[in-house]
């Protein structure tokens, strides 16, 4: 089955636009030390997505750096979604900066697809937001069409660009010359372990295909579908359907009238977003459980909220079976935020308490694969899960963590704090030889970052360690942070470590000491480039 006609409105570099950066100045949005988006000016200077911040700043010293703000992105995008909604009520937000509407019905009303594309483009540009529009069969092809557009617009006169329309039935031909790596475009930002695994699998398949000499979508689509499925698995089968201009997952037939939506009424009405988000989490759990019990997944999820004054607000979000319950709840939070902060005179603004929250799966498809880990996921008590999630809605996702043992030599390196609900494998294995690991017992107090210290000998001179791991004189006094000096009663060291010697950035040569002091305490100290640091205290 060929995909439905779809119009995609795509705002390039949305994360940077949302933080208020001007496209003419070099600016970038950074998350976890890497660039996640940048302006055209920054790109011109050599800044790329996925680049380390350090490298980006080397290319472009004047770079204006902003922290990533998903909530703000969603909030600002609401105005764009509202404009697109005036053309067709079924707006689907793939992710902030990128939305899609079905084009078949409205295009007849507005006088053709090209006319509609231009109208949408004009309306969004009137908001002062750069926007590209594409129309094709399916979201994937329409997005590629939209992304082709700004190149023309930049070359021509500003604002004169038009939407790109791929005629019905020509989508497979349009997709064929695109490089195979464009398959990654169709991905929702992964935020569950399963989703990450899927993205990784896709990257691997794409890499494999390139090595096999299949470099374009057309060449990939030419392979027999059955062989792709048997040889490369379900992830590749979905990608294969995309490459051929088809619906990625065939729609599932189900008995009519069956309502899979999960809804809850809130009585008394709830004013705070937080309580609604909390309810949304358990609703999403229910929705996912219902779908999973039927072997289904949904392409989109509709968030619907009704308020005391009887008004209803709703918005579609891309789901693809990849979002966790927590991620759905997070989208509910963004959406509530966006509606609440609309213009005061705006008739669409959300005012008053929320009385009803409904999550409805939109376009249900058969769940083709993906499976929970067989082991390693310890069962978590229901009440603990609820409490931890509730604290997360209060303080944020990463404020609640569970410790996981990892590899490393220092006591701080051997523990990872993993946000509640996430599953992160430690980068370095915990068991395995770690020569130079500090011997047991482990210190009871490990400050998040080492504290400065001053270690002096009996005559008051600062003790130093030579390149041959010899101390200048035996340590006699320690002063930790701003404390007064305490006499050393026993000490040992230096234990030199040369860590990450194969990596010029991470490589470091340091030495550790253990010292006991007259007040009955003991310390793990570190000498790093001549500076004394307290890594941990043994009390």
């Amino acid at each position: 089955m060929s995909s439905a006609r779809t119009l995609v409105a795509w705002c390039p570099d949305w994360p940077v636009v949302a933080v208020g950066a001007d496209a003419g100045t070099p600016a970038a949005v950074v998350s976890g030390g890497r660039v996640t988006a940048c302006t055209a000016a920054a790109r011109k200077a050599g800044v790329r997505r996925g680049q380390r911040l350090r490298d980006a700043q080397r290319h472009c010293p004047a770079l204006d750096v902003h922290a990533e703000d998903p909530q703000g992105e969603a909030r600002h995008f609401e105005q764009v979604a509202a404009v697109v909604e005036s053309f067709c009520p079924r707006v689907e937000v793939v992710r902030p900066g990128w939305c899609a509407v079905p084009a078949r019905g409205p295009s007849r009303y507005f006088g053709g697809e090209q006319a509609m594309a231009d109208l949408v483009r004009g309306a969004v540009t009137a908001l002062g937001v750069d926007c590209a529009v594409g129309v094709a069969d399916g979201v994937f092809a329409a997005t590629l069409a939209a992304r082709q557009e700004p190149a023309g617009a930049v070359a021509g006169t500003a604002g004169a660009g038009t939407g790109v329309v791929v005629p019905p039935g020509a989508t497979a031909g349009f997709l064929a010359p695109h490089p195979i790596s464009t398959l990654g475009v169709a991905q929702v930002r992964p935020d569950t372990a399963a989703a990450r695994a899927e993205v990784d699998a896709l990257v691997e398949v794409v890499g494999l295909l390139v090595r096999l000499g299949i470099r374009t979508l057309g060449e990939f689509a030419a392979l027999p579908a059955g062989d792709v499925l048997t040889r490369f698995g379900t992830v590749a089968a979905v990608a294969h359907r995309l490459a051929g201009g088809l619906e990625p997952r065939p729609p599932a037939t189900r008995p009519p009238g069956e309502d899979l939506a999960a809804s809850t009424t809130l009585d008394p009405p709830v004013e705070q977003s937080e309580s609604v988000v909390f309810a949304a989490k358990s609703l999403a759990d229910r929705l996912h459980a219902d779908l999973a019990a039927r072997g289904l997944a949904c392409v989109r999820v509709e968030i619907e909220v009704a308020t005391e004054d009887g008004r209803r607000h709703s918005r579609l979000w891309r789901h693809d079976g990849l979002l966790s319950s927590r991620a759905v709840a997070e989208r509910v939070r963004w959406q509530l935020d966006a509606w609440r902060t609309s213009e005061p005179g705006d008739t669409d603004a959300l005012v008053g308490g929320v009385v009803l929250l409904r999550l409805a799966p939109d376009q249900v498809v058969a769940d083709a694969g993906r499976q929970l880990a067989l082991w390693g996921q310890s069962m978590v008590d229901d009440r603990v899960e609820r409490a931890a999630t509730r604290v997360q809605t209060m303080l944020g996702h990463s404020a609640v963590t569970r410790p996981v043992l990892a590899g490393g030599r220092g006591p701080g390196e051997q523990v990872l704090r993993v946000p509640w609900g996430d599953r992160i494998e430690p980068r370095l294995p915990a068991d395995g030889p770690w020569p130079g690991r500090v011997p047991d017992p482990a210190p009871a107090v490990v400050p998040p970052s080492p504290l400065p210290a001053v270690v002096t000998d009996a005559r008051g001179r600062v003790v130093s360690v030579s390149g041959r791991s010899e101390v200048s004189s035996p340590p006699a006094w320690i002063a930790v942070a701003d404390g007064s000096p305490v006499a050393v009663t026993g000490w040992t060291g230096p234990w030199p470590t040369l860590e990450h010697w194969w990596d010029t950035v991470l490589a470091r040569r340091r030495a550790r000491f253990q010292m006991a002091t007259a007040d009955g305490r003991a310390w793990l100290l570190l000498v790093d480039r001549g500076r004394w640091l307290v890594e941990a205290a043994y009390d």
Binding site: S378, L395, D440, P441, A442, A444, V445, V446, A516, A522
Partner: protein, 226 residues
């Protein structure tokens, strides 16, 4: 002092160590055998205060954690997770909330209703109302609140380390082996004291009798108190 230690050894032989999950249902959460002479267990709804963040606070909850209880640590970013695991805390049932911020009291209240033990170091000095409210909350929901590092008005038991000494370090050689610490428990009635290995060479917490010292360090001279 060491008499009391050997007395405990005798008492321990009578009661089987590690009461398992059976203890969870009853009103008393188990504590490590070494701590039993200081307090019989963590009574549900009880508030226990510890003078500072460190080995004593983790040792206090280790018994309950080993026995199947869930623990949460609020406001202790410097908690040595490895040391906690060494003393018996199960990392599979540990939740860390390092930076509870201004809403710490609310966070603790939510957790007290769900997990058995909450270890807390308030990020700011708690007000009298907050202390009273949380103490009452613990009593009502049956959670145990262990407060570390700040005085707490409603604490039924107060534990502190009165003296301690590390062994194993020479003058430029050896490595830390263990700490002998004298812990005092104050509550209703007479204060009780006990010498403990806090921790011992493998990270475990045991009663430090004189024989144990000799077994542990045959070569290193010790200045044993008493």
């Amino acid at each position: 002092m060491f008499d009391s230690g050997s007395m405990t050894d005798l008492a321990l032989r009578d009661s089987p160590a590690g009461s398992g999950s059976a203890g969870l249902e009853a009103g008393l959460l188990p504590v490590l055998p070494a701590l039993r002479s200081l307090l019989p267990g963590l009574r549900r709804g009880q508030v226990v205060s510890v003078d500072e963040v460190g080995a004593l606070a983790t040792a206090l909850v280790a018994g309950a954690s080993e026995g199947g209880a869930w623990c949460a640590a609020v406001g202790l970013p410097e908690c040595g997770v490895l040391a906690a695991a060494g003393s018996g805390v199960s990392l599979d049932r540990l939740i860390l909330i390092d930076e509870p911020g201004e809403r710490w009291a609310e966070v603790v209240a939510v957790l007290l209703g769900a997990v058995e033990v909450v270890v807390l170091r308030p990020p700011v000095r708690p007000s009298v109302t907050e202390v009273r409210r949380l103490t009452a909350f613990a009593r009502r929901h049956g959670g145990v609140l262990v407060v570390a590092g700040v005085p707490w008005e409603g604490a039924q038991v107060r534990l502190r380390v009165v003296s301690s000494e590390w062994t194993g370090l020479g003058d430029g050689h050896g490595h830390l082996r263990g700490r002998r610490a004298q812990v005092v428990a104050e509550g209703k009635g007479r204060p009780r004291a006990e010498w403990l290995w806090l921790p011992g060479p493998g990270g475990e917490v045991t009663v430090a009798g004189i024989t144990a010292v000799d077994d542990l360090e045959p070569t290193v001279e010790l200045s044993v108190a008493g």
